[in-house]
Subunit: 143 residues, 2 copies
């Protein structure tokens, strides 16, 4: 049994555009979806994965946002700021990236629910969403 006949199509690669509102809800809003099964054989037949495809997709969005060195540094700089805020002009130079690129990265972090954006006057101030990093750590603990 179980010759690897894969008749599937795009079962795993749905496009998830950050353009629109998050179709899966806030990536950090929800945790905990599991059911564990077990059995015994050569391996465990293991009916269903402990993590649903949707839940995995939602969590992967957050980790995808963290999967870039420049975005990690952006978070780090924002976090390290004494006021807890930073504007784009603060973030462009230390990373040695162009302004559009930084803006793009910041958007990804905002979409992932990690950063908050507040525009005051001409400047846009970014700050860590309270508890976001802790929630993300929770995504790992509840795999």
């Amino acid at each position: 049994m179980s010759i690897y006949v894969h008749n599937g199509f795009m079962t795993t690669q749905q496009t998830l555009r950050p353009e629109t509102e998050n179709p899966l809800g806030s990536p950090l809003g929800n945790l905990l979806g599991d059911d564990a099964r077990a059995g015994a054989d050569c391996c465990t037949p293991a009916g269903l994965p402990a993590l649903s495809a949707e839940d995995a997709q939602r969590r992967a969005l957050v980790f995808k946002a963290l999967a870039d060195p420049n975005r990690l540094r952006l978070l780090s700089i924002v976090k390290a700021g004494e006021s807890g805020e930073a504007c784009v002009c603060d973030l462009t130079e230390p990373l040695d990236l162009g302004q559009p690129t930084v803006s793009h990265h910041l958007k990804i972090l905002v979409d992932a629910g990690l950063l908050h954006r507040e525009k005051r006057g001409t400047w846009a101030y970014y700050s860590l969403v309270p508890g976001a990093l802790e929630s993300t750590a929770g995504l790992l603990a509840t795999l």
Copy 2:
């Protein structure tokens, strides 16, 4: 090549590094570039990034391994198994992916230091590296 000898011990923070040295083809391969532009009007000068480029790169590797829904589900299944193990035949079906693809994902997770691979007879058994998820959570807390 191959033969990843992983001396399985970790020092809380920094042990999730793959054995392979990365070529670092990143276009921003510049650090310590002290180009300072005079006149900080808008925001706090904010000094240097709290996270070095190398550290960010290393951490991003781990998050990159987590940034795929199928890999998250693989981790979940491995973790959910009562024996703490799972072999590839267990992991191929629930994800509805081909065997080479699953093997590829597993390799990425092993390289990231998240999974351990042990071959017994014909089968390869994968298990969570003890403390790996906690260490990864630590990467977030110490941004």
